[in-house]
């Protein structure tokens, strides 16, 4: 239920983001979801891709600073208050969200959100106990 996210350190320079995406494209790696967090000096690109292991290797070979992080993908009801419902469960269980971003595709009647928690297992348990579905890696990579 945990899925692997690839994080890449990117200096704020024009063309740098393109280089990452171009490298992935040439290696037939498809981006499923992404988020870019930035400061005035640098950014961190976080990616969910169809083949995280390959992406990790290729980026490393090309001397990017890459990290692998476990995140979870959560089905969020695609209706007003849907996200609030998920966040309430987390709040009630004292779980802090490090960061989150949206998945580009929908699964049934739900949207998909990617969450990064400090206590990933505790979060999964709390969500599942409250009827919120977390999506398996294989499902996400292949969507």
């Amino acid at each position: 239920m945990k899925i692997t996210q690839i994080s890449i350190f990117i200096e704020n320079q024009s063309g740098r983001l393109w280089e990452v995406c171009d490298l992935l494209g040439k290696n037939n790696i498809n981006i499923r979801a992404l988020s870019l967090a930035d400061t005035s000096d640098f950014g961190i690109l976080r990616l969910i891709v169809n083949d995280p292991e390959k992406a990790y290797q290729k980026l490393r070979e090309n001397e990017f600073t890459v990290g692998k992080t476990e995140v979870i993908a959560v089905e969020v009801p695609d209706s007003p208050g849907g996200l609030a419902k998920v966040l309430k469960i987390l709040k009630d269980n004292n779980i802090n969200v490090e960061y989150m971003y949206a998945f580009v595709e929908r699964s049934g009647d739900c949207a998909i959100m990617i969450f990064r928690f400090d206590e990933t297992d505790k979060a999964i348990e709390a969500l599942n106990n409250n009827g919120i579905k977390t999506i398996k890696g294989q499902e996400i990579y292949g969507l």
Binding site: F9, E11, D38, D41, I44, F64, T65
Partner: protein
């Protein structure tokens, strides 16, 4: 104005005779009292009685900052400790500070040299000197203080910092002269401007600036903004403190070295060979009169050249040009000595491994800036922005704690810092000095 007409205008021949007599006395004295020098002279095969002319200076071994460190704290003192009335020290940023002592007579000599300095700048009895050099272990504050008192000026011992108060006191006390680092003078200008105070309208007429390298452009800027004469001075704690050399307000062209107290040479920093007048090299001093901690051929690491041409002020001492740089890797940033190895040790401590890094020193609005680029690697990387920012901040904090200077730390991508084939290039100094 010349404080000590007799010595400052001594004909060359008489000056050299005096220097020789004092040199002979010095070598005899250190040979008899400082085991370190006795050993060095024995190793160099020189006996004190073999010093027959000033040219024999070449036969004497050099003394370095490392020698001072190795003999920390009092190993190079040439007098019993009860004769030492004052102890100063460098900041000790690379570990132990270098310690220097003064006898009562050394303090008097120092005051005399600073009196010459102030008089040459046009500061005299009746002037109100705001002394904004730091007081304490640093030699600047007290060195200037005693000299100004000796000439009969009224000294305001305000020390550095507290800029708004500096401006207020300048207005209220009618300060006519100021002494501080040149970059602080420009800081004060900015503070005055914010306060709506026009420094040109105040009675300040002259500034005596030193303790860090500065350019003639900076001089012009200070002179224009303050409406004063800006005078350059030179000194280092090992040799005596400020007062080793000073500009005269008449010429403002090179600093007169107090040659009756210091024997000066320019050497090739690589070979140690003496260079002729006018050539650029490392300036080396031998203290001729210091009692507590005399130094023989002390290597300053400062690069400059000597001007022998007579000066319009009438002084016969040779002049040294503004210091152009350093022969070792030490940086002087905002008057503080900084070694790349210090930054390295901080980076090493942060994660237990040493990342590639680059130190960039620049000057913005006449204030030195320090930037450290650190290459991110997998040990340093995190997918959370806040952790990376915390990393930058913690390195900045460590730098500030260790060297007292604010630095900007910037994380950069791997392999973006240029690799060199030989010795790594760790420093880019963009300042034009």
């Amino acid at each position: 104005m010349i404080w000590n007409e007799e010595y400052e205008t001594l004909p060359r021949e008489a000056l050299e005779a005096l220097q020789l007599k004092r040199l002979q006395n010095l070598v005899e004295r250190v040979y008899a009292t400082v085991p370190f020098y006795r050993k060095k002279l024995d190793e160099a095969g020189v006996r004190p009685e073999q010093i027959k002319s000033l040219d024999d200076l070449k036969r004497l071994p050099f003394t370095t900052k490392q020698d001072l460190r190795d003999n920390y704290p009092f190993g190079l003192f040439a007098v019993p400790k009860e004769q030492v009335v004052r102890i100063h020290a460098s900041s000790g940023t690379t570990g132990k500070p270098t310690v220097v002592g003064y006898t009562k007579r050394d303090i008097n000599t120092w005051a005399e040299l600073m009196a010459r300095t102030f008089q040459a700048a046009g500061v005299g009895k009746g002037d109100i000197l705001q002394n904004a050099y730091g007081y304490g272990l640093f030699t600047g504050g007290l060195g200037a203080h005693y000299g100004a008192e000796l000439i009969g000026a009224s000294v305001i011992p305000i020390s550095g910092g507290n800029s708004k108060k500096q401006i207020m006191i300048m207005q209220d006390f009618g300060t006519t002269a100021i002494s501080c680092t040149p970059s602080y003078a420009l800081n004060l200008y900015e503070v005055a401007e914010e306060m709506g105070v026009d420094l040109k309208k105040l009675p300040v007429k002259v500034g005596v600036f030193g303790a860090e390298p500065w350019t003639n452009e900076m001089r012009r800027e200070i002179e224009e903004k303050w409406g004063i004469d800006a005078i350059d001075i030179y000194g280092l704690s090992e040799v005596i403190g400020p007062g080793v050399a000073f500009e005269c307000v008449e010429a403002k062209n090179g600093m007169h070295i107090n040659e009756d107290h210091f024997l000066v040479e320019i050497i090739d920093p690589e070979t140690g060979e003496q260079l002729p007048y006018g050539e650029k090299g490392e300036i080396v001093f031998t203290t001729l009169t210091k009692e507590a901690i005399p130094l023989i051929r002390y290597r300053t690491r400062d690069i400059t050249r000597l001007i022998k041409a007579p000066c319009i002020c009438g002084r016969t001492f040779v002049r040294m040009e503004k210091v152009m740089g350093r022969s070792d890797d030490m940086l002087i940033i905002r008057g503080v000595n900084v070694f790349p190895s210090q930054i390295e040790s901080i980076l090493m401590e942060t994660k237990g491994i040493l990342p590639h890094y680059l130190i960039i020193v620049d000057r913005e609005n006449n204030l030195d800036t320090l930037e450290v680029l650190v290459e991110v690697n997998e040990e340093f990387f995190s997918d959370e922005i806040k952790k990376l920012q915390q990393l930058e901040i913690s390195i900045e904090k460590s730098i500030k704690e260790m060297i007292g200077i604010s630095a900007k730390v910037r994380l950069v991508e791997p392999k973006t810092i240029e690799r060199s084939q030989g010795k790594a290039k760790r420093v880019i100094d963009k300042r034009k000095i």
